[in-house]
């Protein structure tokens, strides 16, 4: 009996389910979702970090009138579009497990929401 070589790229059952459901690869969809999560996470991290460090907060004030919110939102937006572009390029022809991509997105979004929640980030303010 001839042994078949291992196929590292063989789809998992979940991936096969996705392939069956649609003719289009699900990679670009996973890229869009995860990029939104990354943008939210970066905003959350910058918000907490700025609260904890007065120097960092000042460094984010690219515009005097807007203050540190200008830097936080610019970098979060950059993170969203850059990660969307990079993930789209990497995943554009791949069928990925959308259940896994959803879990990753939810975790990233959850951390982003937590970091931007005022009672949470205020806990990091110096005494």
């Amino acid at each position: 009996m001839e042994a078949h070589p291992a196929q590292p790229d063989a789809p998992t059952p979940a991936q096969r389910a996705d392939v069956d459901l649609t003719s289009k690869p699900s990679g670009p969809i996973a890229a869009a979702m995860i990029a939104a999560g990354i943008g939210a996470l970066v905003l959350g991290i910058l918000t907490v970090w700025a609260e904890a460090s007065e120097g960092f907060k000042e460094s984010l004030a690219y515009n005097d009138r807007v203050g540190p919110l200008s830097g936080k939102t610019i970098w979060a937006t950059v993170a969203f579009f850059v990660s969307f572009g990079a993930l789209s390029l990497g995943l554009r022809r791949r069928h990925v497990d959308l259940a896994k991509a959803t879990v990753i997105t939810l975790v990233l979004l959850g951390l982003g929401y937590l970091g931007t929640f005022a009672p949470f980030f205020r806990m990091f303010a110096p005494e």
Partner: protein, 170 residues
């Protein structure tokens, strides 16, 4: 009866763009909900997809326009370092300071998550188009993100309306 420049931009940000966002969401959600094989004909799918693409793309564009005008046009007036700015007025009293420290500080950050989610939804709809009716997993994912984008914007919008009522930008 006239509006100051600040009041005008406050209206554009909150009522104009906010109202358009609500309309785009309602249309998009109705389209997504009814995008099921048992509910629409082939001809109906084509017509519905055009509306769905228009609705989700408009919602994403309006969400970006709302946060950009909010942060770069209206917010600087709110936080001016003057005794009669809304921020100063709210912080001047123990009874109202939470409107800034909880309400405004949460709103000004969380609002920026909405356009990212709305853009992801628009990309998903444009990418899948007619396949969304066959791929119910993707349709449910799109609907979930769509509702999350709206809920996020709603938190920011409601807080903004309440803060404006307490300390309007004039």
């Amino acid at each position: 009866m006239e509006l100051t420049t600040r009041e005008f931009w406050g209206l554009v940000h909150g009522l104009g763009l906010g109202g358009l966002f609500l309309v785009a969401f309602a249309g998009g959600l109705a389209g997504l909900y009814s995008l099921r094989p048992e509910l629409v004909t082939e001809a109906g799918v084509a017509e519905r997809m055009r509306r769905l693409v228009a609705g989700t793309t408009t919602m994403a564009a309006v969400a970006w326009a709302t946060v950009i005008t909010g942060t770069w046009v209206v917010y600087p007036w709110y936080r001016e370092d003057e005794p009669n700015s809304p921020r100063s007025a709210l912080l001047a009293s123990e009874d109202t300071k939470d409107w800034h420290e909880f309400g405004m500080e949460w709103k000004e950050h969380i609002a920026w998550i909405a356009p990212m989610l709305a853009t992801a939804v628009a990309v998903m709809v444009i990418y899948y188009r007619h396949d969304l009716i066959r791929n119910q997993t993707a349709r449910r994912l799109v609907t979930g993100l769509f509702v999350a984008a709206f809920a996020t914007a709603a938190i920011a919008g409601i807080l903004g309306a309440l803060i404006t009522k307490k300390a309007p930008i004039t």
